[in-house]
């Protein structure tokens, strides 16, 4: 099934010896195609009990591509809420790729305060809100109040809120 011998070999090596993932995870970006999800496959090859440790280690030592791969893989990994600190880290950045990836399905572990601020940050820096998982179910009146306040500031400055944020306000009862 595998078209990519490098990835097949790398997955086997990680299963055999988890620390091998350090160098293989870094190199996967140049040895695999995006659609192969090479980095996710490497994470899934880890013994499940070691996943929390390696996810943290690889994120902390990762470049932007590795961090992005971890955030994207989180929902598929055998994890509870252990990786929430990584979401906080990503949401502190101004890298729109990381912010977007941090608001996928794994963000169900984020508390509501942090989640609202993350959504507001998306509005603020122009990340499309359609990328946020579970937005309509989770959006509440407090978020609406925050977005409305931003709209007031923008309008006072003669600027508009992005259309997707205006539509979100319309949807929150």
């Amino acid at each position: 099934m595998d078209q990519n011998p490098w990835l097949t070999d790398a997955v086997a090596r990680v299963a055999d010896s988890p620390p091998a993932i350090v160098r293989l995870f870094a190199a996967a970006g140049r040895h695999t195609r995006p659609e192969e999800d090479g980095r996710t496959r490497l994470l899934l090859a880890l013994p499940p009990e070691t996943v929390p440790y390696w996810v943290d280690d690889l994120y902390r030592h990762g470049d932007a591509g590795e961090k992005l791969a971890i955030l994207t893989a989180l929902p598929a990994l055998p994890l509870g809420a252990e990786a929430v600190p990584l979401l906080h880290d990503a949401l502190r950045t101004n890298d729109t790729r990381l912010i977007t990836a941090a608001l996928g399905p794994y963000a169900r572990h984020l508390d509501q305060h942090a989640w609202r601020h993350a959504v507001l940050k998306c509005v603020f820096i122009g990340v499309p809100l359609e990328k946020i998982d579970d937005l309509d179910r989770r959006a509440d009146r407090e978020l609406a109040a925050m977005v409305s306040a931003l709209r007031a500031e923008r309008e006072a400055a003669g600027r508009r809120l992005p259309d997707d944020a205006r539509r979100l306000l319309d949807r929150i009862p």
Partner: protein
């Protein structure tokens, strides 16, 4: 004119500079790890800097359609501070990263025994990680420094074609030319090298293995001097193809030896580009 600046410290430049560079034809840069003006005092200060070179800075560059790669090393100046040297143990992990295309800047500042050791250790890391090396040459006692640099490079066993010896001038270019190493020139407003002098060097030494950079940083420097050098070449009778070779194909060939260089267009950033807080003025 498409331009690849093979040595520029964008961390020290403004976002406006990225805009001006893109407008001038700069489509790719390599940012070598170096000194920040204020001496560092611990390894963590380096790792935050390295992380920025592999995270935020490429993101910032991409907003302007510029590909950003980095070289990673403990620079010679700070190799002299024992508080900083433990960073040498952290560097190998960085050398596996996708956008790291060389070990650098390594080499000499004041030619101390500590610099000798850091230089040799990091040339060995370049060999181990199958990466080229970017070698800084000292601004004081440069001629002696270049000779000693070339001795250390020879002893390391790295292939000379995988080494660029940087910040050269009329006095030092000849020695490097004869070794088979690549030759780097930093075009500065007042010091190191100027566009007209660079043109004369290209006339006398040819275009092979020549790399022209702005080395723009936190000092008096100008990220558009690569472009000015291309214009000076044209005015002096070099062809468009000659300019393309020096300002684009040569750096692509040198850093391409890493196997990690990506100079494809950054156009597929999609909503990132539109949505960037940088382009939106930090809205």
């Amino acid at each position: 004119m498409r331009i690849f600046d093979p040595h520029i410290h964008m961390t020290s430049r403004t976002t406006d500079d990225y805009g001006r560079m893109a407008a001038a034809g700069v489509r790719a840069v390599v940012e070598p790890a170096f000194w920040l003006g204020q001496p560092r005092t611990n390894p963590g200060s380096f790792t935050d800097y390295f992380d920025s070179l592999l995270g935020w800075e490429p993101f910032r560059a991409a907003q302007f359609g510029i590909r950003h790669h980095a070289t990673i090393a403990l620079n010679p100046k700070e190799a002299n501070d024992p508080r900083c040297r433990p960073v040498l143990d952290l560097i190998p992990r960085y050398l596996d990263k996708d956008t790291v295309v060389a070990v650098g800047e390594i080499g000499y500042d004041a030619m101390t025994p500590e610099e000798d050791e850091a230089f040799a250790v990091q040339l060995a890391l370049a060999v181990d990680h199958e990466l080229p090396a970017l070698v800084h040459t000292p601004h004081r006692d440069k001629a002696q420094g270049v000779k000693r640099t070339l001795d250390v490079v020879r002893e390391s066993g790295i292939h000379p074609g995988r080494v660029v010896v940087d910040h050269l001038n009329e006095v030092t270019v000849g020695d490097v030319h004869d070794t088979g190493c690549w030759m780097g020139f930093s075009i500065y407003p007042d010091t190191k090298m100027s566009p007209p002098r660079m043109v004369e060097i290209l006339r006398s030494h040819g275009l092979d293995r020549m790399l022209v950079n702005s080395a723009a940083d936190w000092g008096r420097s100008d990220p558009l001097l690569t472009r000015r050098t291309g214009e000076a070449m044209l005015a002096a009778g070099f062809s468009d193809d000659d300019v393309d070779r020096v300002l684009w194909r040569n750096p692509v060939e040198f850093y391409g030896q890493s196997g990690r260089l990506d100079v494809s267009e950054t156009g597929d950033t999609g909503p990132l580009f539109e949505g960037s807080s940088i382009l939106r003025g930090g809205s």
